[in-house]
Symmetry: D2
Subunit: 254 residues, 4 copies
């Protein structure tokens, strides 16, 4: 169990709704994941209507929506989008994504901090997507962020935890939950993120583009549990020399 703002979650696996072949496939995967917090791009939601197709597949009592601002280019657009989302989706939770760069989709630290400050003042529960920047994380805390969401590697790359050294710094210093976002490409990556002490992970592409999204979602679900369990049970240290687990006195000596 872990807490963001004042909300307690049983699952440490957050999921996203992009890139699935169909809404039905998406729904099956989300249910298999056990995820209780699911991001949905504002752009994909019909903010005026009631019967949006995506939303209809997300109406499960254990699932809370986490609208994201993907597509906004600066703090001003982010704040506007957040307000529309709050009204339409009746939630003040927000995954803040500001990535003006069309090629690598890396987040903008300056606009993200600015938007976090404003949105926190406006009463939003802000979860900003950021580079694995330890100082930015501390500044986001000062600005009232509810959590930080540093990336493991580029969005959708499936490259895993390329930023691990910096994630470890962030985790060691953070007073808010650290949720590793972007780049997690396999259950082993998710387990590793949990082993180093992350509070949670967000996975989307690796589930959606796999050969069997529902089964892959289940694999991520249990890998996250395994990683957290290992963190709590404390891993042994890594050594450069070998050390036999079996006795090495010669078999025939005695």
């Amino acid at each position: 169990m872990f807490t963001i703002a004042d909300k307690v979650f049983g699952s440490r696996l957050l999921t996203g709704t992009g890139k699935f072949n169909s809404a039905g496939q998406m729904e099956a995967a989300l249910l298999a994941s056990g995820s209780e917090l699911v991001t949905v791009a504002l752009k994909r939601v019909d903010l005026k209507g009631q019967d949006d197709d995506i939303l209809s597949h997300l109406r499960h009592s254990h699932i809370s929506l986490l609208p994201n601002t993907s597509g906004v280019r600066n703090a001003k657009e982010a704040v506007f989008a957040a307000q529309l989302a709050r009204e339409a989706l009746e939630t003040n939770w927000l995954k803040l994504e500001i990535h003006p760069d069309p090629k690598y989709l890396m987040p903008d630290p300056i606009e993200t901090l600015k938007a976090t400050e404003e949105l926190a003042k406006l009463g939003f529960i802000v979860l900003p997507y950021i580079h694995a920047d330890p100082v930015l994380c501390k500044r986001l805390e000062d600005a009232g962020t509810a959590a930080v969401m540093p990336l493991g590697s580029a969005i959708g790359s499936n490259k895993g935890l390329k930023t691990i050294d910096f994630l470890e710094m962030i985790i060691s210093q953070s007073n808010v939950p650290v949720i590793i976002d972007a780049g997690i490409g396999a259950p082993s990556d998710a387990a590793k993120a949990m082993e180093i002490g992350a509070d949670a992970v967000l996975v989307n592409t690796a589930i959606a583009v796999s050969g069997d999204p529902a089964r892959m979602a289940e694999a991520f679900k249990i890998a996250v549990i395994a990683g957290r369990m290992a963190f709590e049970a404390k891993l042994g240290s890594i050594s450069s020399l070998a050390a036999a687990s079996s006795p090495l006195t010669s078999f025939l000596d005695d």
Copy 2:
């Protein structure tokens, strides 16, 4: 489920019995691991008596013993040890370990192949511990090995899958089960081994030296399941460029 020789196993996690603080702690961890094949060093077994302390903790109907030859220095000693083990423990299964090097405990390819040939002829089910050497693996197949057990990194180092490129070669070519042995230091390593298609993993040090062996054993148990599930569900490819999981058309454009 997977099969070694003609025996079917439900669990793909093999465990070892070394380095635990007590026999009770060991037993609890082995039970938590769900492991059905457990290595025990011949040196530690009282081959003459019936009431050996270690063995008494391994008497569970779902657990088969896999005696290992740790401590032997060449094929001749290995064959002799194997014969003693078969008589005392009433099993013809054998984990063949020949590592004459006292510092890094790396296995000897020449003596291991030689011993495998002889032991297979003598009716043993041989599971040799080896470097991640693709050609050696094929030669062991020709010699009648029941499986191959290439190392991930040095025994007891907890360094993980340093040999991954070679493990992938071995897996792609093998006609016998590939069980990754040595160096697996965390559940994420075990999950990764399964994701690349290993049939099973053997873990000992990482469980025994953790802060809570029984809990760590459970973490490995489910990480192995997660990794296998991901292998079967097929992971997406890794790309160098980012690819958004949320739509990127500008939020306010339309």
Copy 3:
């Protein structure tokens, strides 16, 4: 040859002056490095006097000083320090370092951007030390930076290019020189930085703490040349499969 602002440099190796055992050892290493741009911490310079010991060892016609602001905690302090430096050292070049974090010494993206904007307006040639953040690099360009100095890994860690994926993004997009700073621990790291297309590298700790700083400085000097040469000659691609460099038709077939 490469250019920062309007100044042409023959050497792509920048060096620092910290951590040497003596000023004489430092001078010998700097001369062996061939470096033409050498950072010196403002804190270590006697800004009032003329006969500062460190400076006396840096008076060589081919060496330009690059004062750094190590120790400042925000943009305001940085601008004040820069103005003192300009007056005392008679240079408007400045390595901007703002790292409020005492443990990991990671740079502050927000204050660094703010200080860069102000200092560029005040006529400084600003070279900011930053995390390997592609979006921040573009914003620094807009703010008038003369170059960007993203880190390879934590200062003084000798861990090498842990941020390589992000450095490649930065290099592919930058309109100003990219100088890899911090973490370069060996000549092979410096060569690698040049191979991926960095314009230059800054090395200090790895030279100063080595067993023989002057010889290590020379090793870095030529490694940087080798890496640049390889970049210009274009490296072959990396492949997953083996490909023999010798013919593989069987020797005895014909």
Copy 4:
């Protein structure tokens, strides 16, 4: 300077003759590399004639030929090929390559040891190409090998030093020169190999397939020198925490 058998070499860069576009391009690259020991596949040499095209480009007083047995599949073929080579090329030096595997071209440890034993008895100076197997290296020493040539990664892959942990074991234990062979894809890889204490490296593909082989050969030449120099000057240790090279007392405190 380093010594193999009783021969002293000034250059620690060995090169190969495969994959070049033309013999002229090859010759220019070999000269630029400064290499004094150059492998040539027996298959490519006209063993009967005097005016073989490749050989005519290798007739330089500072270059010794190192015939390789690429294409042989076992010890018997290797011995036969070696004897032909000795007669035709008037050298008893031999790079022993036995890789029966057509896909990954990994060397055969068993046949390589067997051939080394026989060839050493026949008076050959044997340099066997092997996996990075520490125990095999010691056995080859016992068999009379003149050097060991463990691989960094698969032949022609340009993947670099994937076996680095095992190379370090080999170097720490070896009584004969260790020459890292196969997989070195960039000057930074060659520098790294030298930094960990290898005696020499062999590079072929990375030079031959580059955009400018002669220039790339020169880059490798100086990278090898840089790496060796760094090894001799002793690199500083790698640490997990940052450590400033500039003083960190706050700039404005005093």
